[in-house]
C-alpha cells in the first residue's frame, strides 16, 4: 500500500513566484510535476476506469523513400471500448519542416510535441538556424527519459527535413530513440508492417508510395478494432511538408479495393451505402 500524506493532494499546482513579475502570479500552467513516484510502476490513484482510460489505440506509419518521407495515419480515438472520435488529427504539424505522429496517449503527444515546437522556434530565433531533425528528436527523448516510469504513454515518430536531408525517428515513452527507414506504431502496426514490408522499395515514386501508405493503413483499420476512421497522408520533401490527403474514409477504400479484386457483392453495396 502506498504510504502518503493526504495533504500532498493540495500541492499539485505549484505557482512559482518570480520577483520581476509581481502582477503575474497566475502564471500559465507549467510542465507537469510528478507528485510521488513508486519504483514499481506508474503512479496509480484509484479513480476507476474512466480516469485511466485516456485515448489510445491507433495505427500510424512512416517510411523513407527516394522522394522523401511518407507519413500515413488513421483517425480513430477510443476511450476503453467507446469510440470518442473518428476525426482525430494524429499528425501534429510541429513547424513547416517537422511533423510528429501521435500514438498512445493523445494528451501526452499533443502536449509534448507542442512543447517541442516551442523549443524549435526559440532555438531558431536565438541561433538563426533551424534545429536539425536529429537534435529535435533527441530533445524530446531527453524529456521522456526524465518522465520515465511516471506513466506517460507516447509512441511517436518525428519526421522532417533539414540541411542533411529527410530523416525519420521513432521516439518512445521509455526514452528509446531509433533512426530508421520504416516504422509503424500503434495497435494496428503489425497489420501495417505486413503490407509495408511486402511492397516497400526505396525507389518508389510518390504516387506509388502514397498508394502503399493508404493500403497499409486500410488493412490495419480493417483488422484492428482500435483503428479506423479516415486515412491522412503527409509527404515530407526538401522544401518542407505537404498534406497529400486530408481524410479518405476507410469504408470507401474497402469497397474500392474489393472492386479491384473483382468482388462486387450483389452490386448494390458499393453504390448505395447506408452510411
Amino acid at each position: 500500500m502506498i504510504d502518503f500524506d493526504p495533504s500532498t493532494f493540495g500541492l499539485a499546482h505549484t505557482y512559482q513566484k518570480e520577483d520581476k513579475d509581481e502582477i503575474n502570479t497566475l502564471a500559465l500552467p507549467s510542465a507537469p510535476q510528478v507528485i510521488y513516484k513508486t519504483l514499481n510502476g506508474p503512479t496509480q490513484i484509484s479513480g476507476g476506469n474512466k480516469l485511466n482510460n485516456f485515448k489510445h489505440g491507433t495505427t500510424t506509419l512512416g517510411f523513407v523513400f527516394k522522394e522523401g518521407i511518407l507519413l500515413a495515419v488513421d483517425s480513430r480515438a477510443s476511450m476503453g471500448s467507446f469510440l470518442s472520435s473518428e476525426q482525430v488529427r494524429k499528425v501534429i504539424e510541429i513547424n513547416e519542416y517537422l511533423l510528429g505522429t501521435m500514438a498512445g496517449g493523445a494528451a501526452d503527444c499533443q502536449y509534448w510535441l507542442a512543447y517541442l515546437a516551442n523549443h524549435c522556434r526559440t532555438y531558431e530565433l536565438k541561433n538563426g538556424s533551424k534545429l536539425s531533425v536529429a537534435a529535435a528528436s533527441k530533445f524530446l527523448q531527453g524529456i521522456l527519459i526524465g518522465y520515465r516510469n511516471s506513466g506517460l504513454s507516447m509512441g511517436c515518430m518525428i519526421a522532417g527535413t533539414d540541411t542533411t536531408g529527410q530523416h525519420l525517428y521513432y521516439i518512445d515513452n521509455d526514452g528509446m530513440r531509433l533512426k530508421g527507414d520504416i516504422f509503424s506504431v500503434g495497435s494496428g502496426s503489425t497489420y501495417a508492417y505486413g503490407v509495408l514490408d511486402n511492397h516497400y522499395r526505396y525507389d518508389l515514386s510518390l504516387d506509388e508510395a502514397v498508394e502503399l501508405g493508404i493500403r497499409a493503413i486500410y488493412h490495419a483499420t480493417h483488422r484492428d478494432t482500435a483503428s479506423g476512421g479516415v486515412v491522412r497522408v503527409y509527404h515530407i520533401h526538401q522544401d518542407g511538408w505537404t498534406k497529400v490527403h486530408d481524410g479518405i474514409d476507410v469504408v470507401d477504400l474497402h469497397y474500392r479495393f474489393a472492386q479491384q479484386k473483382g468482388l462486387v457483392g450483389d452490386g448494390d453495396e458499393a453504390k448505395q451505402r447506408l452510411f
Binding site: H13, Q110, F275
Partner: protein, 239 residues
C-alpha cells in the same frame, strides 16, 4: 479502512492469516467521485448550443436537482463539464481568474481558440493527479461560427462540430451521429435550422434521462450568438 481485530480472536486458531490486518483495495480512500450527468454542445454557423442536465449525484444518491454544469467564461464561449463537480468548480475558478487577467492585460476578451488552448494546458499540468473532468468548450470562433472542442481528462483536445460528455455519452452521441450527420440513415435529412437542432437536443436528453439513472431533473440550454446568450431550462424526468 483499518478494522482492528478483536483481542479475543487471538485465542482462537487462525486458519486464514489473511483475516488479521487487511485493508481491502476497495476501502482505500479515493480523492475522486463521479458526480455524473450529461452535457452536449452543437456548433452551427452563427451560433453554438450547449446543454447540460442539472442532476448532481454520488453513486445512488441525488445530491442536487439544480446544479449547473455550464459556465460562461467569456461573451463567446461556455465550458460544459461532466465528471467530478469539485474539480469542475476548481477548474472554472482557475479559468475565470486567468481570463479576467487576460482581459485586463490585453484589453480584449480571449478568443475561443485561446481559451481552448489554455484549458488544455491547465488539464495537462495536472497530468499525474488529473482533474476528473470531461470537458466541452463551446464557443464562437473569429467568424462567429459555432465550434466545439472536446477534451479528455488530461487535456487532449480536438475541434469538432458537436460533442457529448458524461454518463449518457454513449447513449446520446449515437443519436447525434444519426441526426446531425446522417450516419446510417437511408433518407439523409440533415437539420438546418436552429429550432430543429434544439428539438433534437431536447429529444436526446429525454432519451438519456430514460435510460441513464444519473441524467434527469432539468436540462439547461445556453444558446450563444454574436448578439448574446439565451438560456432555456426544460424539465426532465425526476425519478
Amino acid at each position: 479502512m483499518y478494522i482492528p481485530v478483536n483481542d479475543m480472536l487471538k485465542h482462537f486458531k487462525q486458519d486464514a492469516p489473511a483475516m488479521a490486518n487487511i485493508t481491502h483495495k476497495s476501502d482505500q480512500w479515493s480523492p475522486y467521485h463521479d458526480n455524473s450527468g450529461t452535457v452536449l454542445a452543437v456548433g452551427i454557423p452563427g451560433a453554438v448550443i450547449v446543454a447540460g442536465d442539472t442532476r448532481l449525484s454520488n453513486g445512488y444518491n441525488i445530491l442536487s436537482r439544480d446544479a449547473t454544469k455550464l459556465s460562461q467564461l467569456t461573451d463567446k464561449c461556455v465550458l460544459a463539464t461532466a465528471g467530478q463537480y469539485a474539480d469542475f468548480i476548481a477548474l472554472r475558478k482557475f479559468l475565470q481568474q486567468r481570463l479576467q487577467l487576460y482581459e485586463f492585460q490585453n484589453e480584449v476578451q480571449a478568443s475561443t481558440e485561446t481559451v481552448a488552448h489554455l484549458l488544455s494546458r491547465e488539464l495537462y499540468s495536472r497530468r499525474f493527479f488529473p482533474y476528473y473532468t470531461f470537458n466541452l468548450l463551446a464557443g464562437l470562433d473569429e467568424n462567429n461560427h459555432g465550434v466545439v472542442y472536446g477534451y479528455d481528462a488530461i487535456g487532449s483536445y480536438d475541434k469538432m462540430t458537436y460533442g457529448v460528455q458524461g454518463s449518457g455519452q454513449e447513449l446520446v452521441v449515437a443519436v447525434l451521429d444519426n441526426q446531425l450527420k446522417g450516419y446510417n440513415k437511408i433518407n439523409k435529412t440533415i437539420p438546418q435550422t436552429r429550432e430543429e437542432i434544439l428539438d433534437i437536443i431536447l429529444d436526446c436528453f429525454s432519451c438519456a434521462a430514460e435510460r441513464d439513472i444519473h441524467t434527469g431533473d432539468n436540462v439547461e440550454i445556453l444558446i450563444i450568438t454574436a448578439a448574446g446568450t439565451e438560456r432555456i431550462v426544460k424539465p426532465l424526468r425526476k425519478d
